[in-house]
Symmetry: D2
Subunit: 351 residues, 4 copies
């Protein structure tokens, strides 16, 4: 399953073309809408007040309630755009954003309004694609779940201290703030509010698990190992700066005797009491849950004044970003990480 | 430049085919040999005593001292193989290794001797490929350097506290233990020796920087962003479990006002006093050094007894690994990380 | 430049996403509309009376009159669909069509209305993509022209007997029936009318030339040679069954001394009085015009009664196809072949 | 299954790396040697007297008689090279060869000896790869056969007049001159001898059939249709200039009512008495044999004097090619076409 995402934040529409979707998958459109809603803006007091219906229109590849097997295109019209916010400051590169590298990459021809093609809004078609992928994977008994592992310095319980199950997944996806311990979630919200009040933003870490993946998927080679395939999907999410599998960077401090997951045969199945490797050895799944975490940088758009350059005058300047911005995108990114994971798993399964 | 690495640890030979090497590059074979030697085993008291000449024979794509532009194949014969070490325990999956997932992936047909195609020995052709890539990139003014950021709990100074330069790179590559502060390197060696004495192993973190990369390379999209391209190369290195760019996971704890790198015009160039983003915004290089770190798990092969399964009898078993093994591969992996980085940068530059 | 075409003949819309379009190309939208009109149905007395506005709406990748360098999506709404024509016969596989193989490929889930994703209508977004590619190539001094080489048994003069020039291209593209000798075109029209009157259809051959391609593009290897790259684009056009470069199959009857194009230096340029190789040797352009021909099968949809199977009842049946159908698509396919050639040349040029 | 072919005619070795070979295939090495021998030079009175053992050494991906599933590399050492033949004329571009385009492509750095990487000798590793692919496909009940359809103006019976069967394939592959009617083969040999006596060469057409391919393989889209996949493999064979499926260019002269293959259900199977489409409709296999023909140009190397350019002096020159050359490569190309077909079919089957 290949996907091509197109669109700009303030253009007429954004969308995605999915090639290689298996034929005959009965798509649950309400389920897709639910996933879209999990990511949608304007739900909570501190996120961007931009409101988008985000109703995807399926233009192709879907007939009589089933996928046809030919390319599936979904379109989302942009409706609530206020481009004037951006005109005044279009030559001022927002620090931490793709403005300056994008100016060099596209020689100034990129659509600067609302971040254009760099906008977090482009994760809406990604969630659509992932929602389709999840339904394909559900037919294979594969379930994907994720939670906020941390925001700023507030940490949730890690997956390694939980019994992972599809039920836990259902529980998490019902939450607008998907954490394992809601009290921590409350503290995270407070950290977000504090940052917002100071015209600032916070980042965080999302942890994701894939259950039901059979052992033997992937290969050690370049372009075929599990970690590389998952990473490439994750780094296409705006703001992701790091990824780690299993114990992540923590494994570098362990001894081999601590990091190796012992293997046992129980009830005809190969099991392990630990999962330091995050379900992957030698680039191949080992049958344990695939577990990884990704770091999301704090939102680059902040209202505090910043030093930057004027790309037209080619001189130093000061920038105070106006407009609607999220002080934190971590909680909204949870379904996005799940979506990217679903696309990665499809790739791994040869779907 | 595409590469296909082939071979097994105890087969007749390992090697690599490089497609898309530009024509007319004058290869410095001594330089290549030097890079190969940096990775080669048997150099220090605690690494595997396996000694391999690791003399690559260039079979094609190289004529009269220059690359021809057609596929370049380099072959490295395996000479010092002691396969009997592996016969006895071939059905016992070594915990932390690719044995068990590989058994499932290849239905038991993979060459188990010395880890077969999963072996760290396969990084020798990768270093060869990277050495060619480095020479191509040198012509573009691009330099790659790396150091051991940590082993076990001993940390070197991070690149963020250094003035990065090609001179620093030359200095580091002369060291058999490439750290910025040699005293820390001594402590790392001690940590390795301690682990070895206890029949155990240690892991670590390697930090890598690419200097001279122009701004504007990459794109935000899937498969084209800098972080995804670099990650996919890194995760093809055995033992890499995590990667982070710039401040890596640390960025998740910063405020936006701390994480954003301010921009200034100095001497006609765009500069920044900080590099929290590791030289990438929106998936595109911003002209600052590309900086990232990767975590290497502790060597999975340890001589301590471990619980595991017998894949033939399908029952629990105990395993004590014999044979020659590195208690730490981090220092030998430094040129490997550089090589993979060189291949990633070629990809990014459209080479 | 990669393209993903989506849509079904009778779905809500068809379209294309173009990835990798260079930034800053000033698109001439009238020129694009002209190319679309060349292919559009309903222009002549014997072609399908289905009339489509075929107005592409550009949804992304285009800003302030220029390409942005990010994915460009164009959408064409389907308006004049009469799906009832197909309901009655949906289980009867139309001989020569993709119905039966598509049934097997997509397990019966494909959209059967109007040929669905197999429809010649899907060449509209291909022409759009090609029109963009042509404008990109025009900036490199590359021009693409094509003519009807034959329809049924009526043959036009071949390109090998013409002086190829961009002027000739401009002349040809103004013709609704692009032949070099209009009298032959008249005979071709008569052959089409005769076939139509008999409820039958005719096929033909289109010859295409690319002028201005520099020598040295391509490589002998799989996936990189000119012929393979062009072929893969051509066979994505419905109805193309054969392709030949230069003398095509005729070269197999020549002696080496006849087939080899002698080389001379004239005015500092390498020239040849002949072009039996069609501008390619060893898979690489030689600086002469790239010339090739493609065979288009007679339209599979005919109104004559045919023997076929009922895919639902799994038994023999008789089929008389109703609905609107072209007795010949060769003349309408001329801009389609040019479009596919433009995409191939972009690929070859690394655009 | 991906393949990377490397090597030059007069370098130390040529070879191939096969990635994605399924694990556990029991390779019949004698069978592979037989296929290699079919292509090998020096067998008949009129072909190049260069004699090569062409013994492939399998370096990886093969263990205990079976494929391992990891990359398989086979190496063929070059032994009988006489490079001095080429030194004198290295700056004279041989008309019809890749010399001149290669000079432009590789800026003069390519290995010119014996055609270097452009040499027909590079088809030896291709035949190796195809022999492996054939054995993989045999396990799926798929058989590939080919014959010389014509040499110069002598034509063999076409496959459309035969009952295609695996037995016919076995019969054909035993012949050093694989034709259906041996008398025609004798006439072809005479045509070759005549050309050779005149210092000239001849070309021809090879027809190939794939039996046992299930219906439903492929897709109409770019990069996925049967014809495009097969073509891309075929055009990687040196000297192939045209390809046609089923009736090939002949179909352009048929009426729709003649070209459409009627369908019937017989014994629960879908059958057709004709196969004008060559087993493909809409880019997807229809269950009939996949049949196609390819045109091979007459060997470019002839001993007659030719007009050409001196690429060093950049002036007109005369060339009389010395050295050992085939006056016809069509009969030796038969196993090469089969090999490329086998690789294409693997690709189509997702192997």
């Amino acid at each position: 399953m290949k996907h091509a995402i197109f669109g700009e934040s303030h253009g007429p529409a954004i969308g995605v073309v999915l090639e290689g979707v298996p034929a005959g998958v009965e798509l649950d459109l309400e389920e897709i809408a639910f996933e879209m809603a999990r990511r949608a803006p304007g739900k909570d007091p501190f996120s961007t007040p931009r409101k988008e219906a985000d109703q995807p229109e399926i233009l192709s590849g879907f007939f009589q309630g089933h996928t046809t097997g030919t390319p599936l295109c979904a379109l989302i019209r942009n409706t609530d755009t206020r481009s004037r916010d951006y005109e005044k400051t279009k030559d001022l590169a927002r620090p931490g954003h793709g403005d300056w590298p994008g100016f060099m990459r596209y020689q100034g021809y990129n659509d600067y309004r609302g971040g254009g093609h760099f906008s977090g809004r482009l994760t809406a078609p990604l969630v659509f694609a992932g929602a389709v992928a999840k339904q394909v994977l559900a037919g294979e008994g594969i379930v994907i779940l994720a939670h906020i592992k941390s925001i700023a310095d507030v940490e949730d319980i890690p997956f390694s201290q939980c019994l992972l199950s599809s039920e836990l997944g259902w529980e998490l996806r019902e939450k607008s703030f998907p954490v394992l311990e809601d009290q921590r979630g409350e503290q995270m919200r407070q950290a977000i509010v504090r940052a917002k009040e100071e015209g600032d933003s916070v980042g965080g870490v999302i942890e994701c698990a894939v259950l039901g993946l059979p052992a033997g998927m992937g290969a050690p080679d370049y372009g075929e190992n599990v970690e590389g395939i998952v990473s490439q999907q994750m780094f296409a999410i705006p703001g992701v700066k790091a990824i780690g599998f299993g114990d992540s960077f923590g494994i570098a401090r362990l001894r081999g005797s601590e990091a190796n997951d012992p293997l046992y045969v129980r009830g005809g199945m190969v099991v392990s009491p630990t999962n330091h490797s995050g379900g992957v050895n030698g680039g191949i799944t080992n049958g344990l849950p695939l577990v990884f975490e990704v770091a999301l940088r704090p939102t680059a758009s902040i209202s505090k004044q910043q030093d930057t350059i004027d790309m037209d005058l080619w001189q130093d300047s000061k920038l105070t970003i106006q407009g609607r911005h999220d002080p934190c995108i971590v909680h909204r990114a949870v379904p996005v990480v799940e979506a990217a994971a679903a696309l990665a798993v499809c790739q791994l399964m040869g779907i």
